[in-house]
Amino acid sequence: MYQKKKLEARYIVLIMLGIIVIMLGFLTLAVQDGRKLNPVEQVIKDSAVFVNKVAYTPIKFIKNQVDKYQAKEDIYNKYNAIKEKLDQVKLNETRMLELETELEDMQKLLELNKSLSKSSYLNATVVGRNIGFWYNTITIDKGSNNGIKVDMAVINHKGLLGKVIKTSNFTATVKLLTSSDVNNKISVKIKTKDKDVYGLLSKYSQEKHMFIVDGIAENTIIEEGSPVVTSGLGGLFPSGILIGHVNSVDTDNFDLSKMVEVKSVVNYDHLNYVTVVKKVNWWS
């Protein structure tokens, strides 16, 4: 009798372990970024986002009024700062037009139809933010019906935010660069005086609020303040989108390569409006 009870307990433990292993396997598939949402998920998500958007409207109105009041107080100083930058912007605009003309001429000459930086843009509003801490995603109010596809880059007026990981008919989920996901790596280039230095943006440090770029040769000279932009070589993000500026340069634990801390230009705490970059892939 005692042996029979002991066997039953053993079987129960084995069955429980089996169930846990199966569930972990299932969850491994469930948490993947590339998983497509099924129709039920899409309908529920679209409906929930709509309800959240309606519920947040009065709060957003009050927040905008408060922001406007705060902005008015500082408006004179901001006006002077903008006035100073206006001449510089006009100069850059002229130079940019000249460069665009040169680029078109070169493309015609070399019979190139596409480039790493050719894109079109779609504006969207942030209607939700994932607070699970680990995922660091936002939900925007544009979806597959608006032409948004998975892996499209998302930016704002300051720089790169992240990429689209899931879409439904009317919404899309954007994973931010600050996500703790181990697979969240981006090919970047650091613009120095002599040349562009290529590296890999590997993680975001929650303590220091900085990105870490590694994979840079130990003998490379990088100055603080150098801009860090997307290289376009990873195939996901167009080239030339600003990520941040170099804050400090250090070597890794084995002194084999350099690790660069990059201060982001984007304030990830206040994201209201974003732009989705519809990139034309250069190899397609």
């Binding site: 948490v31 959240n52 947040y56 607070i131 703790s180 181990v182 303590e207």
Partner: protein, 203 residues
């Protein structure tokens, strides 16, 4: 059940609104849906199977709306539901205990999610990440549980909606009533007669 549905709906909406309003990385990370598991339990009046089913469904909704991870939060919320049941056996339903239960429930949620994501390879081993997620999650959720408990306790008393602590109170009251009735009836059953002799009573 209408009150339960209302609490869950408000928790979903306020969680999203607060996250958009307040910047991340502060001490006001909201997990109001997790907190709602503690708030709705007293309204189930020991119908524990319904509570577990509702916990699972809330977790599933959380998956669909916020995290896009199918069944991850559904299973975790089921475990949290079992935990809330067990902890309610040890603690009575009052404001202080609701805050304590919220503290433990939020902690368990964070730890379970971290462990599962670590096991499936989504996160790397970083104890400081877990600690940061824990201490940033307490303040807003404990305050929310306190405020919501006080509001819905008032409404449940005003509209006489039964809760677990009411059942206990009524049970005790019923016991006391039975005892008094028994005391009154006892002399008649044994045939005692009360006689007045010169103004004095005698049994």
């Amino acid at each position: 059940m209408k009150l339960v549905a209302f609490i869950i709906f408000i928790s979903f909406v306020l969680e999203n609104s607060l996250t958009l309003l307040i910047s991340s990385g502060t001490l006001f990370t909201s997990l109001f849906v997790v907190t709602s598991l503690v708030l709705i339990y007293p309204f189930f009046n020991n119908k524990n199977n319904n509570y577990l089913v509702i916990s699972f469904l809330i977790g599933l909704m959380y998956d669909f709306v916020y995290t896009d991870t199918l069944f991850l939060n559904a299973l975790i919320f089921l475990i949290l539901g079992l935990f809330v049941e067990k902890i309610n056996e040890a603690l009575s339903n009052n404001a202080l205990n609701v805050m304590i239960m919220t503290f433990f429930t939020v902690s368990l949620y964070r730890i379970l999610t971290y462990v599962v994501l670590l096991l499936v390879g989504y996160l790397h081993l970083d104890f400081s990440l877990l600690l940061a997620s824990l201490y940033e999650s307490y303040l807003a959720n404990i305050l929310y549980s306190l405020v919501m408990y006080l509001i819905f306790d008032y409404f449940s008393r005003k509209y006489r909606i039964l809760k677990i602590d009411w059942c206990l109170t009524l049970g005790l009251l019923y016991g006391k009533i039975l005892y008094c009735v028994d005391l009154v009836l006892q002399p008649r059953r044994k045939g005692f007669k009360l006689r007045y002799l010169n103004g004095e009573s005698e049994t």
